[in-house]
Symmetry: none
Subunit: 143 residues, 4 copies
């Protein structure tokens, strides 16, 4: 086996594009949000807290992004008993709040976007709107 490999990465330019698209949707909805984008390593790439968004949503938006990037599926659909154990075992970084979406391009997870301050469904809508405008990204539909 090879000792190194190539990996697709999300650039800061791509992260800012996601951020701005999310801000645009949240503005149109008149629902201010905290929006975080992390890379595939769960490290923060970009963040913004919109005017009048909830202060405490800074932490939850970042954790939603991390959870989605790590688990590779949207947050919020985990079995609750498992979710509590995972939260406890990861210093709160794994969250089952709705609003985290993996950023998947060409079948590869290159990061996550997390949105928080609205209802779970509003948060998901904003995150997905950002993905819709991102070339090649997988998008999500929720009931």
């Amino acid at each position: 086996m090879s000792s190194t490999f190539q990996q697709l990465k999300l650039s800061h330019s791509g992260a800012l594009q996601l951020l701005l698209a999310a801000v645009e949707r949240a503005t149109a909805m008149r629902k201010p949000q905290c929006i975080a984008v992390v890379d595939d390593s769960c490290n923060l790439l970009a963040f913004v807290r919109m005017d009048d968004a909830k202060i405490l949503a800074e932490g939850s938006a970042i954790r939603k992004a991390k959870t989605a990037a790590s688990s590779r599926v949207p947050t919020g659909d985990m079995e609750d008993g498992l979710a509590v154990k995972l939260a406890a075992a990861t210093e709160g970084n794994t969250t089952n709040l709705k609003g985290g979406l993996p950023i998947i391009v060409d079948g590869q997870v290159i990061g996550g976007i997390g949105v928080g301050s609205g209802t779970g469904d509003e948060d998901r809508e904003v995150g997905n709107a950002a993905l819709v405008g991102f070339a090649g990204a997988q998008t999500f539909q929720f009931d």
Copy 2:
């Protein structure tokens, strides 16, 4: 969009007034309390722990104040499943214990007051008594 805006802030004078009014009510009830006041950014503005109040209520009173300032509604009425997730995702800062009330003047949230050491209903009564005496502040009625 503008790069700056004006916002109403709670002064330390206002915070101390809230604190003293809460102490007065708690004294009349013979129920010593921890009382915290935070600003709209969830930073601590004023705090007091009354004689015989529970030591560990320091932390819960402060978190009640933060939660109310951030969520803009009284604490304690969140759905419990959601509350646990939000607590985990915000390092314990979001709490669903009763006793946190937003401080709302002219329709703007300028902070939160958190009261802890009594029963949830006693905590709410003390917090609301402080708001009743605060010029222009929204007050709350609980069943």
Copy 3:
């Protein structure tokens, strides 16, 4: 030996009196401050952050109060090499910043007051002004 003993304690009323006296002096100096009062157990009794005081001084004011209550002498005069070790060994709670003063009545340390946001000398002046107005409290003179 007896299995229990009586101890002189600082009341919340006394703590608030110290707080208000410190605010009065800081106001007269036109130097807004963060002011913390802890009891002999180093637990927070009272706190206020004045308008325009430095946000990050919340933590340092509280730690100055704790250090003074624990060490029973004013903060700031420790040998610096020792101070670094004590800070590291106490999770930052021991600080050698000026502005923490023990509250000593009848030769007993009943707490500490910590002041932060000004220069070290300004912080000390505000803390001492609060002690000067506190019946029976030892006061301090600095060069």
Copy 4:
């Protein structure tokens, strides 16, 4: 004394503008950076980590922004003995690394920008370039 007051705040739109201007300068310098913008309360408003910027500079950039917003002067010019004490007393949030600048408009501190991943002087240059393009903001010259 009044219980409330009006205060000038930095909008998310203003924060993003600062972020993009800083990215532009860093790109021109071919020196990727982590860039953080906090409000006057030291809460994160916006952040970006550029491609190839140092991962660990996320934390230092944010703390530089907080320190500048709280102290109201550029970071890096504090006496080192004092700086170590302040860092320890504020959970590492106060830093004396170069690269944090207060955002001052109409004489009011409305936040801080922190830049990290280059040399201290490069960090300062990027932060100041962002301020130069911000309407009404005070700028800084360093030797």
